[in-house]
Symmetry: C2
Subunit: 226 residues, 2 copies
DNA sequence: ACAAAAGTGTTAAGAATACACCCATGT
DNA sequence: ACATGGGTGTATTCTTAACACTTTTGT
């Protein structure tokens, strides 16, 4: 019935890339828009998805071009949700497929259109363009819930880490503090971790044992923390 | 950079509409395709989403036109996932936004293109066109997991029901049997239900008390069954 | 009286929570 | 020796799981 005169809506992608570090806690990649609409405002890196390109491929391309991040560096990329957003283009409504990406030690190269790609700590975010604050809130909520029954954090942690570092990553995402002894019991019982022989000596105190993840892919388990 | 020559991909929607009844258990709405590709094969009701129409609106329109179901009759409609599917149209790849719908006592009107909309019990499904078997499996998995921490079943149950009926709905979706006494304890403790004064007398045995849901909207809780 | 589904409690095992001190190191 | 973060165990409470008989009705 549509054949012939069918006109599809504009299709876009937006990406929510999180990173965690001991210094900054959880942060998210934003770019500063260099043209209208919302010129000058901060936004999630996003762009058009054209015919012949999967949304996943478009996400990689856009993230690299505008966000200065190579998706191969991300430990996990997952589709988040599809928003029938406010028009990105004044001519009509746009449909945006959103993705979440998780990584570590990411250093955004300057975007090809000089849009200042920068990781912003979640604590001190600027106002965001479009409905991007909603998208970000939704991404964070999903990340939180996955935290409690999967090994998602593998994508945020360095290859070797101490249990204290891991706990503070959990705390940053969960948004509350966890009991040290109970956390260790459960995380070790989950089977996600492998103890190594290496130790991490830093500062004037007992060195900490280093652990690694058994798998660098998403695994499900029973609840890890309460 | 795309302005001017930007050509968006084809955008489609597909819907997975579930219904539950004591006789059939859980069933899903399928239509029989009356033209190529996959002519004669069974498929989820789906169709194009055109510029200016939200995917949610397209879902309603298509479900009504091809599936013979009025979305107002559904107790819950939720976006499921967006698939970069196999081309629906030989000319290029298509992006399909999928929705899950839940209802009860649904009687599909004949589709406007005589596509036999029919509810099929999940036990005896035909082969499905495209990647629709994957979409259905994913929808079922999501429904299952929501079962355990939300009141989703409100959308599948009649306004008044016995605890035994509710339990068999849970069992149909969970795919296993549950202990009667433990089920009753937990479901009553969840606070989702309201006891009524009415009784349901049927057959040569003790009549059962009728219950109703407190809310006809999605609510979250702790785990309901184990 | 019997067949058929409704309804009802208790016990044991396991999971979650709360909580405080010693250990190894650098300065 | 002291300051700092690393590391460890137990008791209590709550949750889950397993399990069988009595009640009410229609025929």
């Amino acid at each position: 019935m549509y054949s012939g005169e069918y006109v599809p809506p504009t299709l876009t992608i937006d990406s929510v890339v999180f990173q965690w570090s001991a210094e900054q806690g959880l942060s998210v990649l934003l770019i500063q828009r260099s043209y209208e609409p919302f010129m000058g405002a901060w936004a999630l890196p996003g762009g058009y998805c054209a015919a012949g390109e999967t949304t996943r491929d478009a996400m990689s391309r856009v993230l690299s071009a505008k966000g200065g991040i190579d998706t191969d560096r991300l430990g996990l990329v997952e589709q988040l949700y599809t928003f029938d957003t406010v028009a990105r283009d004044p001519r009509g409504h746009a449909v945006s497929v959103t993705y979440t990406g998780l990584g570590r030690d990411l250093k955004p190269a300057p975007g090809d259109t000089t849009q200042n790609p920068t990781f912003w700590p979640l604590q001190k975010l600027p106002d965001l363009a479009y409905d991007h604050a909603d998208i970000l809130a939704y991404a964070l909520q999903r990340l939180r819930s996955k935290l409690s029954y999967t090994n998602v954090v593998y994508a945020l942690m360095p290859p070797l880490f101490t249990l204290s570092q891991l706990q503070s990553c959990y705390e940053a995402i969960a948004g509350r503090s966890l009991d040290k002894r109970n956390f260790r019991k459960k995380i070790l019982a989950s089977g996600f971790l492998k103890e190594t022989e290496k130790m991490h000596a830093t500062g004037a105190h007992r060195p900490a044992r280093l652990y690694e993840f058994q798998q660098q892919t998403l695994q499900t388990s029973d609840h890890i923390y309460s």
